[in-house]
Symmetry: C2
Subunit: 590 residues, 2 copies
């Protein structure tokens, strides 16, 4: 019971101190969340109030099911972009069908997340490697930022990829609305200044670091308030500046998304991708914040909590939600102690829909565009490409491919190709494992690569260390490798496969080993194994391989050499240790 | 030059003895190949003569480019079934479009194989794991055998899956043609008898084992000759027994396949699958036979040879070909010494198109059906399922899924799902690696799993051996694992990750290690590594990880314990060895 309802855990010991801390955090997060939720609704191509709606029910639900004490769920930039991409092709923006499809997307995402949670399929999220996520997030952030240029310029161009956006912008470039642009640049300059300088200024006038950080984070609210007031006072709407306009007042009315099987089939793949990307984003934030206070996150329960939150978003007129990075950090730094802080934030957002909506009429869209640009630019990590290039060419390839394809072909193709590329590259890499010929380090029981260390070897014994699990992509490679070595060494009488790095031998590799054993035996060469891991040995015992093996299985490579090349080991090591070792380990070994 | 034209290698030393041996083998293979090539053409839904054509040009071309001295290429059962499945949906059987599509399929397969050969992509074939191939071949053989029941019963039912075939057969079951059935059963009984008993009979009358095996293999030819004669003498055609009918006399006329881009797009995926399945089948046969005589096969050159052979099949009116198992074994056992034997076989087949075609008019189709059934039943390996189940549940799952899906949904979906399943199962397996807490085996320098061996440990030092490469599917798993262990052991001051089985650390895992290092450091725990492999260490040096690591990297786990828990190691091992070891290895190590 407590596994599925973490609220029963922390709710029991909920005291006055936690209440105060949670309330303070909730007020701060609410202030930050109002402009964000409006902006991300516009980014998703939806009416602004849906952003407010998506920040009420999901937060209440996450407070019941979530295991993170700091995570703040709601609309986020990347999921909103993915929503726009998924729904954009199905319905006309602004139509009831468009909103219905977005609600259905949230519903289906919720169901998929719940199913993954109950089936404990959280490991599926691991298929998104860090380089793929990093490349994808950077590309998505660039598309989002570029997509904010039209509202900032007073234009209406739209596009889901960089080339589409660039073409649409070029076609309208002669219609730039200068008052909108001037105001947008002003907001942008203010937001950048408050990010980089406001903190220092506040410190100089004596504000402590913690509150200073929170004030800095609230800068977008100041921009929203100021430009809304200016639009009202100076009649910017009359001057042609695009305003948010009428926002319905009041709480969302519960409604089911359209139950159209054709629609659901069309959004199945996007829903799966939004679920997985959102989950990965959310769990990373949750784990990072939990580690700071030595708390635990349950990855499978998080799937359930996010699934339920998305179902809540769907039936309350919202769109797909997940845990957001910036607002969770603010929640954490503002002192939130339990998920109750999220519930209080939901109450704050509900009050906003009741009280603030009349004022939102005068909010310029360019202000929201500027806040989005500043928010997503922090998602772009230009150093990641360079770091990954230096560390691993295959990881770099996956990252660059994801980034490039996402930019030019869109978010869905980008992430699918990225995942496929990382899988194929992984298999390619393991299909040619590192295989080292090893020899004994003089005076020790260690065996090392003959190419890297000074070691002694016996021409009659070939010791090969395979630095990879033996499984289908590399099964034939090892056969080829041994065949090459055998052809090169006419004096050879024994082959020892040293297996400390062989973590698994699958059925394909077992067949290869059987073939190798038969071929070597036909050529008068004995095949041995050494340092086979316990689980691998357990499994080999369930096959006929050990009965057919022409040689032996040795506990250590040193034991193997003691037996197969006693002269050599006696010369290089303290001979009696062979026997001692073997006796000491014999019981434990087989 | 010699790499691409192996004929330049063996052709130089081609002598009289090899000529005689190759000629003998060619005669025997030709006799065996005539009924086979007719039968597989019918299986592919094509006119019988195309089978003869597909056994001429490809053999000549393989003799120039092939590296196997025993492989006999030509039409094979599984590729013919896949051809029927790919082309069946595109054109009416018997129409020129059907033949054109089959030729285009061979052409595209040839191009794909050539491209894979030049790009050295032979490793892609490794994606077909043994369990997937085994399940697929068994299912294909069952479908092929079931598909021969209609001609054996004198019916015309067709189907590409078992359910389709069963339904079609049930619909016609009242129209069984008894004379056809009687003759078919007679042939079937004769073929089974010759397989199981003829060898013993021949041995008893003094025929040596070698020739006896070859005579046994020629039994289908005897059946073909006898039933053809019976059909002619007894006018079985007039009695309603289906005969092969008119077969055009003479050599194939060269012609390009239709160059229709729409058609080529439709057959791209089937062509890729036929290429890869055919290649895997062919290379396995080639390597098995080469190993018997200690010869080498070049896997990339084999791609080129098979690609060129398929291009040859395409432009000479044939369909996709590959190396066949049974006929290659016969070729090998009959004494073929070089690929020239294949060229002589091609000459024999060409003579057959000139001389034998008038006689084929009277060949009953039921005879060919019977020879196919007997041939493919040897491909079915019922023990494989049981063996794989005992050895590995994941491999069994992949095998059973491939087998089941192929039987009920067809060859294309079957193999695609099989490959995907084996990939996902592999990732699932490695996403939860075996992680062992290790301790020191008394009196040795060995460290083993505390759960399997009697070892000593120090409560302040946690030594974890990770039995898997660290990469994206398991990056987060290790973090969770360490966090659990740390939460359980309050006395902990050091964590040592023992990495002899870590063959790779990708960018995702590197980020996890960095996060783990930071979290442990914040909790006053030092993170160390031991027994890191050379290539992994080289790569870590290219990142910032080693600069940030709170602890050290030790060459051996014994060194790590000497430093971190000197009391323990002194008590359990000969203490001076610590220093000796460290000095002896210091130079070579870092």
């Amino acid at each position: 019971m407590r596994r599925f309802f973490p609220i029963l855990d922390w709710g029991r010991s909920y005291g006055r101190e936690a209440l105060v801390n949670d309330l303070v955090a909730a007020v701060i997060v609410t202030i930050m969340l109002i402009p964000q939720s409006l902006a991300y609704a516009l980014l998703a191509g939806l009416p602004p109030e849906t952003g407010l709606y998506a920040s009420i029910a999901p937060l209440l639900i996450y407070a019941i099911f979530g295991t993170s004490r700091s995570l703040a769920v709601g609309p986020v930039a990347v999921a909103s972009l993915m929503t726009a991409a998924a729904v954009g092709g199905l319905a006309q923006q602004g139509s009831p069908e468009y909103l219905g499809a977005a609600m259905a997307l949230a519903f289906l995402s919720g169901l998929l997340l719940l199913a993954m949670g109950f089936l404990r399929l959280g490991f599926l999220a691991a298929f998104l490697s860090h380089p793929v996520i990093s490349g994808f997030i950077t590309a998505a952030a660039l598309i989002i930022a570029a997509g904010q240029l039209p509202p900032l310029l007073g234009l209406s161009a739209r596009g889901e990829t960089l080339p589409e956006l660039a073409l649409a912008l070029l076609g309208q470039i002669d219609r730039v609305h200068l008052p909108t642009l001037a105001m947008g640049l002003l907001v942008l300059a203010f937001l950048f200044w408050s990010r980089s300088r406001l903190g220092g200024l506040l410190a100089r006038i004596g504000v402590p670091a913690g509150p200073a950080r929170l004030i800095t984070r609230a800068a977008p609210v100041l921009a929203v308030a100021a430009t809304t007031a200016a639009a009202f006072g100076l009649d910017l709407g009359g001057a042609g500046v695009a305003l948010v306009g009428e926002v319905p007042r009041g709480l969302p009315r519960p409604a089911l998304p359209p139950l159209d099987p054709g629609l659901w089939m069309q959004i199945l793949v996007p829903a799966l991708m939004i679920s997985v990307v959102g989950y990965v984003e959310s769990i990373s934030v949750a784990q990072t914040l939990a580690a700071r206070r030595r708390q635990r996150i349950d990855p499978d329960q998080e799937l359930i909590a996010l699934g339920a939150s998305n179902l809540g978003a769907s039936v309350s007129g919202g769109f797909p939600v997940t845990g957001g990075f910036a607002r969770s950090v603010v929640n954490h730094e503002a002192g939130a102690e339990t998920p109750a802080a999220g519930a209080y934030t939901a109450v704050g957002m509900a009050l906003a829909t009741l009280v603030l909506t009349p004022f939102l009429y005068y909010l310029p869209k360019a202000t929201l565009a500027a806040t989005i640009i500043v928010a997503v630019l922090s998602l772009i990590d230009p150093g990641a490409l360079r770091r990954t290039w230096r560390y691993s060419r295959t990881d770099f390839t996956a990252m660059a491919l994801t980034l490039g394809v996402t930019l030019v072909a869109g978010v869905e193709i980008g992430i699918i190709l990225g995942v496929l590329a990382s899988l194929v590259l992984h298999l390619w890499r393991t299909s040619r494992p590192h295989v080292a010929v090893v020899g004994q380090v003089q005076g020790t029981e260690h065996f090392r690569n003959v190419l890297r260390h000074e070691v002694v070897t016996d021409p009659a014994v070939l010791s090969l260390r395979v630095d990879e699990s033996l499984y289908f992509p590399n099964a034939r490679f090892l056969e080829d490798c041994v065949q090459d070595q055998v052809a090169r060494n006419p004096a050879l009488r024994h082959v020892v496969l040293m297996c400390p790095a062989v973590n698994d031998i699958d059925a394909s590799a077992l067949e290869s080993l059987e073939a190798m054993n038969a071929r070597l035996r036909a050529g008068g060469i004995t095949l041995h194994l050494s340092e086979v891991k316990g689980p691998v040995m357990d499994r080999l015992r369930r096959s006929h391989f050990l009965d057919d093996l022409s040689g032996e299985v040795f506990l250590t490579q040193f034991d193997a050499m003691c037996r197969l090349s006693p002269g050599l080991t006696r010369a290089t090591a303290a001979a009696p240790r062979c026997e001692t070792d073997r006796q000491a380990l014999a019981g434990a070994a087989r």
